[in-house]
């Protein structure tokens, strides 16, 4: 799945980003070749991740979360037509570095886990073999040492009797254990950044709670930064400190989780909170955001949320930038200062969740 050197680059990559960031993404855009022509899937993506920080990337299906994650490791599908912008990781631009440099980073300094652990694990090898392999590819530890480290890692991700489990095959493990194995394989080389794409979506809530707890604790103790891709705002609230909301291939809001939930600055973020079943009266119509994400072919100029936004006025058709909203917040809506949008607190007051919140 390795994608070669970016086929074509438009912009001359914007500024290098924050000096304290572990990773600075600037002006990232991804284009695919499709039967309908060139498909600009994402554009002008800017964000930073600080060392050890836990950032949630949320947004509707198709908004570009997965491909943004994949682009960091240059694992985009073959019909990629071009990658714009820069992805500065510890002084290296991952968007343009050599394949060789990328190999040294992928799996070792930046690791990724996916929703379906079964598809990422090879059914013919034991779990121990798969984890130890990662280690042996990137470091020159002995076989015995790799095995010892693997057992230790399996224990750290909460697998009971790892001495026995290490010799089992993926099909002998439950879904939760497979995801733990994937996490162990991802963390065995001590990466600085872990990209987790919907890591708990296939799991039950009780196991999800364990895995999210695990990711949070591992990230805290090992200072591994976490980029958690999810469509579940609850998962972000439980796990992350910062939340980046994407819409139609762009970042539209970037704030701490608490700030975004309490006082969202973008009408889309506020609308999302409103549409959650947790925050709505039971059996009633769920307030959804009217309309749908515009397709690439009919993408409007200016604010891409315009056709669905209850606050749209003349001027919104002008090109929107990711604006600095102060206190480390960013928002892609030029009206953010004058709008006073409801957040989770206001919505929760009228919902069944209210009873559960008060009880605590």
């Amino acid at each position: 799945m390795e994608t070669a050197h970016p086929a074509e680059r438009i912009s001359g990559a914007a500024a290098a980003g924050s000096r304290h960031a572990l990773m600075s993404v600037r002006g990232l855009g991804i284009r695919f070749k499709t039967a309908q022509g060139i498909w600009q899937a994402t554009r002008k993506i800017d964000f930073d991740i600080a060392p050890g920080e836990r950032v949630g990337i949320v947004g509707e299906s198709g908004c570009g979360k997965t491909i943004t994650g994949l682009s960091i490791l240059r694992l985009l599908p073959n019909n990629l037509s071009g990658l714009d912008g820069s992805i500065m990781f510890d002084g290296v631009d991952l968007a343009s570095c050599s394949t060789r440099t990328m190999r040294g980073i992928r799996g070792r300094r930046i690791a990724m886990i996916f929703q379906e652990p079964m598809s990422a694990l090879d059914p013919v090898f034991t779990v121990g073999h798969q984890i130890a392999e990662t280690l042996r590819v990137h470091t020159n530890v002995s076989k015995d040492e790799a095995r010892a480290q693997t057992i230790d890692m399996l224990r750290r991700v909460g697998i009971a009797s790892p001495e026995r489990r290490i010799d089992e095959y993926p099909h002998q493990l439950s879904g939760g254990m497979r995801q733990r194995v994937m996490i162990a394989a991802a963390l065995i080389c001590g990466p600085q950044l872990l990209i987790a794409d919907e890591p708990t979506t296939a799991l039950d809530v009780t196991v999800q709670a364990q895995i999210l707890d695990l990711l949070r604790n591992l990230s805290e103790t090992s200072k591994t930064a976490l980029m958690l891709i999810t469509h579940d705002l609850g998962v972000v609230a439980e796990t992350c400190t910062r939340m980046i909301t994407m819409y139609a291939g762009e970042v539209i809001e970037d704030a701490t989780v608490d700030a975004a939930l309490v006082r969202p600055l973008h009408p889309y973020t506020s609308g999302l909170l409103r549409s959650l079943p947790h925050l709505s009266p039971r059996l009633g119509r769920l307030p959804s955001i009217p309309g749908r994400v515009p397709s690439i072919a009919e993408m409007p100029d200016g604010c891409r949320f315009r056709a669905r936004c209850p606050h749209a006025i003349a001027g919104c058709e002008a090109e929107q930038e990711l604006l600095d909203a102060g206190e480390g917040r960013k928002v892609r809506c030029w009206r953010f200062r004058e709008l006073d949008l409801p957040g989770a607190l206001q919505h929760a007051a009228s919902a069944p969740i209210a009873g559960r919140v008060v009880r605590q």
């Binding site: 998962v235 972000v236 909170l273 947790h278 989770a344």
Partner: protein
Amino acid sequence: MPMAGDSKAEPIVSVRDLEVGFQTMDRRATVKAVDGVSFDVRRGETFGIIGESGSGKTTIGRALVFLLKPTAGTILHNGVDPQALPRKQFQSHRRDYQIIFQDPNAALNPRMTIISSVLEPLELAGAGTKAERLARAQDAMERVGLPQELGERYPHQLSGGQKQRVIIARALTLRPKLIVCDEVVAALDMSIRGDVLNLFAELQRDLGLTYVFITHDLSVVSHISDRIAVMYLGRFVELGPTESVSGRPLHPYTQALLSAEPLPLPSTMRSDRRIILQGEMPSPIDPPSGCRFRTRCQYAQSVCAEQTPAWRELEPDHWVACHFADRPNFSPS
């Protein structure tokens, strides 16, 4: 097991002492995926089933639409055993009882365009003229929020959520009486999830549909269902009206499920008193004796290992299987 959910009207589905067993891969043991479950699905209701993966939800769902043969027990549709029908009648009967599966990748043919996939069941059923079928397929796509131009694409060119919508559109084209929805909104993002849930509710109102809604998402099941059954290791542990089950859960497992749900709330509003269950559900090959939840239950006593808790109606229409569910102050809330 006494009947749960009696009602005056003939239930659209009536399940008694259902057991479904599978041979393990090495053929040395039998897994009882469903081990003695009884319930009725009332016409026009949404019957929610929640539980961990492997608890037997999908197996119940497949048995309900006769994709699987029960090992023991009975399943009646409108008081009739469909398996007793002549073959041809059985086939057309099955069209009224649809199931939508959880894995959109497995359900879509990678070499078929989206619109052909949506059209397929209509063509197999030979419904209407070609133009009518196309109109119905396009209408279904529109209803689930898929732009028409995606019709010419192939599954791999769609995002996960887009594929799930295609599956829903496809089942809707046949206008069934009952749909078993197995994790159908799991892969959907929030704003469209609301739309799809509204859509299910709308179709239910307009067409009198009945749903069996299988999901692990508590917020979804409590929003859409009239009643909720909580499943653990092949059995129901609790069944009752949604308000009671989600508002005043009687079973320790239900209580743990509710508390494990990640809430989209700021830190100041979140509680630290979560019950994080240890481990996972034991294997159904060798389930624990007595109460099957006892290996993870914080209230387990010795009697829990010795006796299977009875299925009791502790409140009107609210059933539970736990020795101690009727003790005051038992619930942690």
